[in-house]
Structure formats: C-alpha cells, structure tokens
C-alpha cells in the first residue's frame, strides 16, 4: 500500500528541505532567541537579587533610623532629667546659700548688737564711775573740810589699800 511505503521523491525533498530548514534555524534563529531569553532571565534573576539586596538595605536603614530615634529620645529624656536635676540643684544651692548668708547676717547683727550693748554698758559703767568719782569727790571735799573726819578717812583708805 502506498500509505506506508515512503515515496522516494518526497523523501529526497524532505531531506533537503529539512536540512536547509535546520541549517537556517540553527544558525540564525533559535540560538539568538534562546540566547536573548536566557540573558533576559539572567537579568531578571539579577534584578530580583539586587531588589532583594536593596530591600535588605532599606530594612537595615529603617532599623538604623529607628535605633537613632530611640537613642535620640533617650538622650533627650536624659538631658531633660539632667536639666531638671541641675535646676533643682541650683535652687537648693541658692536656698542653702541664702540661708547661710542670712545666718551670717544675723550673726553679724547679733555680734553688732552685742558689741553695741557692750560699748553701751562700758559707757554706762564709765559714766557711773565718773559719777561715782564726782560724787566721791564732792563727798570727799565735804569730808575734808572737817580735819577729823579727813584723818579718819585717810586712815580708812590706807587700811583698805593695805588689805
């Protein structure tokens, strides 16, 4: 049957045409296409890789940023605390100083008062002594007018001084 017996002419033509087809496609067709497709798939793979890398970097940056913000916040609160502390210190120091100063002033005042009082007392004493001397003078003058009494007194005074 002619169906299963290959026809010689067709066989020859098929061989020739298929060989030409294969030659053309293998030389100018498929290698270019598959080469480009492979290149592109490599490129896509590389792009994906670099995208992953970029994502990783962005993540790292975000992490870094978060860390920096946290740190800044900590720093801020620390500075605030410190400032508050300093303020309190200054106030308390001022208070202390004021107290000390007040104390010093008070002491000074007290000392002044004491000194004033002392000098006043000394004055008073001196005046009393002067008055006493004056009184004594007047008395002595009176007494000395009477020679008897003056002798008695002189004797008395000598006694007293000898004692």
């Amino acid at each position: 049957m002619s169906l299963v017996t290959p026809d010689f002419g067709l066989l020859v033509w098929m061989t020739v045409i298929f060989a030409i087809l294969f030659f053309i496609l293998a030389k100018f067709g498929f290698p270019i296409i598959t080469g480009m497709v492979n290149k592109r798939s490599d490129y896509i793979g590389k792009s994906l890789e670099s995208a992953r890398e970029a994502q990783r970097k962005v993540d790292a940056l975000a992490e870094e940023q978060k860390r920096l913000i946290d740190e800044t916040k900590r720093e801020q609160s620390r500075i605030l605390n410190e400032a508050a502390q300093t303020r309190d210190d200054i106030i308390s120091e001022a208070r202390q100083q004021a107290r000390t100063e007040a104390e010093a002033i008070l002491t000074q005042a007290r000392e002044d008062i004491e000194a004033q009082r002392e000098s006043a007392l000394r004055d008073v004493r001196r005046q009393v002594a002067d008055l006493s001397v004056e009184v004594a003078e007047k008395l002595v003058r009176n007494s000395l007018s009477d020679p008897e009494k003056a002798d008695e007194l002189i004797g008395k005074l000598i006694d007293e001084a000898a004692k």
């Binding site: 017996t5 026809d7 010689f8 002419g9 098929m14 496609l25 293998a26 296409i33 290149k39 592109r40």
Partner: protein
C-alpha cells in the same frame, strides 16, 4: 503588511490556476458522475495521499487546481521537467502519464519497449513537496521574525508582543520543559535540532488541519516525512552516544547467562536502537493520518447520506458538522501533543545516550 502577504500570494496562485483548468474535468470527477456513489477509498486516499497538482475546489463541475512541477528522470529518455497540467485526465506527455492501474496507482510512469509500466526517478514538486516548502518558509519567517525582533530590541528592557511573544513562549516552554529535562546538562548542543523538530511538526500539523489552499496537505501524516524526522533523531542519538551508552547496549548490566554464550540482551538492545525511532515515526504518522481520516470520514457522512432523503441527510449533516467541529478542536490538541511527544521522546532518547555511568552499588 507581511501578515497579508501570504493571503495575497494564495489568491494570486488560485486565480492563475483558472485559465489552465478551463479544459475539462478530472478523472476523479468523471467517475463520480458515472456512478453517483462516492468512492470512499478514492476520496480518502485522494485527500491524505500525494498528488501532482494541488486540487483546490471544483467550480461548476470544473476542478480548480494549482499545476505543479513534474520532474522525472527516465532511464531511457533522460530528464523531463514540465507542468503537471499536461498530465491531467490521464493524458500522456513526453511518453509519461499517471498510472490508473493497480501498479503505481496515481504515480507518473512510462512504458518501456515491452509495454510494462516503469517508474522513472520521480523528483516532482508534488502537493506534499510544495506544501512542505510553504510550511518551511512559514516556519523560517516565524522564527527569523522573532530573532529579528530580538536583534532590533533590547531584550533586557522589553518583552516581545504578538507573534514574537507567542514564539518566545513556545520556544522557552520547549527548551525548559522538554529539552533541559530530557537531555540533561549539555542540552544546548541539541536544542536547535529539537526546537526545529518541534516547530516543523507543530506547524505542519496545524497547516494540515487548515482545510484550504496553503494548508490541507497531509504532511506529518506521510511516512516519508516522519521517516526523515525519525532518522534525524536516530542519528542525534547514536552518533553522539557516549561510552556508557554503548556499553549498556553491547554488554548490559545483567546476569552473565543472558549475554555470554548467546548475546540475548545485546541483541534485544540493538533491536531497541532501531525500534525507538521507528516508534517515533509510526506514532506521528499514524496519529496525524488517523486524525485526517476521521475528519474526512465525518465530513463524508454528509455526502453518503445525500441519497437517503432530506430528513436523514439533514439531521446527520448537523451531527456531522458538530462532530467535525469537535474533531477539528481535537486535532488542534493532537497537533500540539504530537509535536510535544516527538520532541520529548527525542530529547529523552538523546539524554539516555549521554548518561554517565552511575556509581557502582555496594
């Protein structure tokens, strides 16, 4: 513009055929008119077989055909190259005519001095050869068009669209799914052949389903075509087979009595070398031919039932058309499937011939 080129070519060829065919009617048609029955065998073989002219249609009882080139070399009279319209209706031209007898039926023959039929060396551009040329041109245009797209564009920045996109998808699919899987590590060496085989079979299968002019020839359902393809695979497998492959054939890893005095296993393996491509050849041939026969048979139902009255004919025609649509869709699937299977098996056979020896089991 290129897209319509083929269509225009087809129309030109169809019109150029008219004046040459005014003369008469083909022998086939005369027979049909002689007895009203449809000669099923002739109908089938006329469609799936080869012919010297390309019958397109019949207008008002006159066949419209594209005459093709008859190239024969007779032992006695030398080369003859002429148009096939000289041979229509069994006419004799330069001592050559188409045999109507059992012997060499439908082929160009001559009579020698004794009056016996002699078949000259026949290298005619028959319908199949012409269709082969058209389809291969189509494949070349498709593939080189895609390649040209890649040359003109930066493939790293954009992907092809349209036909180039489809081609790229198919090529990538064949290379990734079939060739890399089947052949293994040095697949690049075989990739062009396997891709060529795939597209050759696929495009020819599809063109075979197209029922009018540039298609319709039963190419991949012709044993000569599948024979060449199978031989190519056979050569690809056996020319580059490595040491391990030949060792496995000539001295396989089986108990000694299976190979020592009587080389039973080597014999089977050697037969296997030939049966593998043979099965490739038969599978493709039989599948495509059977598909064509089925389609033709379904369509023939309409003509066979024409005499059984309008009721039967009408109802069966509807069924035949529906079934024909179904068969056509199925054939589209088969067209792809057979190309896929042929390529995959070729890749697997090549891969087997290049396998390295497995490490010894201990």
């Amino acid at each position: 513009m290129k897209r319509y080129g083929l269509l225009i070519l087809m129309l030109l060829m169809a019109f150029s055929a008219f004046p040459q065919r005014e003369g008469g009617e083909s022998a086939l048609l005369q027979e049909k008119q002689g007895d009203d029955d449809l000669d099923m065998q002739e109908y089938l073989f006329g469609h799936i077989g080869d012919s010297y002219e390309w019958h397109i249609t019949t207008v008002n009882g006159k066949p419209v055909s594209i005459p093709l080139l008859v190239i024969v070399r007779s032992k006695t009279t030398g080369w003859h190259i002429f148009s096939s319209h000289h041979l229509e209706e069994g006419e004799e031209y330069q001592g050559l005519f188409i045999s109507q007898e059992e012997q060499y039926n439908g082929k160009v023959v001559e009579r020698d001095a004794d009056g016996t039929l002699v078949r000259p060396l026949d290298l005619s551009i028959t319908k199949n050869v012409f269709s082969l040329m058209i389809n291969c041109t189509l494949i070349v245009l498709l593939v080189l068009g895609t390649a040209r797209w890649y040359r003109r564009h930066d493939a790293l920045k954009e992907a092809p669209k349209g036909i180039a996109g489809i081609m790229e998808m198919l090529i990538v699919m064949v290379e990734d799914d079939i060739i890399k899987e089947g052949v293994g590590k040095d697949y690049k060496r075989y990739s062009p052949y396997l891709l060529t085989a795939f597209f050759f079979i696929f495009i020819n299968n599809l063109m075979g389903i197209v029922p009018f002019f540039p298609g319709g020839a039963n190419l991949t359902g012709n044993i000569a075509i599948t024979l060449v393809l199978a031989v190519c695979t056979f050569l690809a497998v056996n020319l580059f087979g490595n040491k391990h492959y030949w060792k496995d054939i000539l001295w396989p890893d089986v108990p000694l009595f299976l190979k020592a005095p009587l080389p039973l296993m080597p014999l089977i393996e050697i037969i296997g070398i030939f049966t593998k491509p043979f099965s490739l050849m038969i599978r493709l041939f039989a599948n495509i031919m059977a598909g064509h026969c089925m389609l033709l048979g379904v369509v023939a139902v309409i003509f066979i039932t024409a005499k059984m009255g309008p009721a039967i004919n009408g109802s069966l025609s509807v069924i035949a058309v529906l079934f024909g649509v179904f068969m056509d869709i199925l054939e589209c699937l088969v067209a792809f499937l057979q190309a896929y299977v042929f390529t995959m098996l070729s890749a697997v056979f090549i891969g087997m011939s290049r396998q390295e020896a497995e490490p010894e089991h201990k």
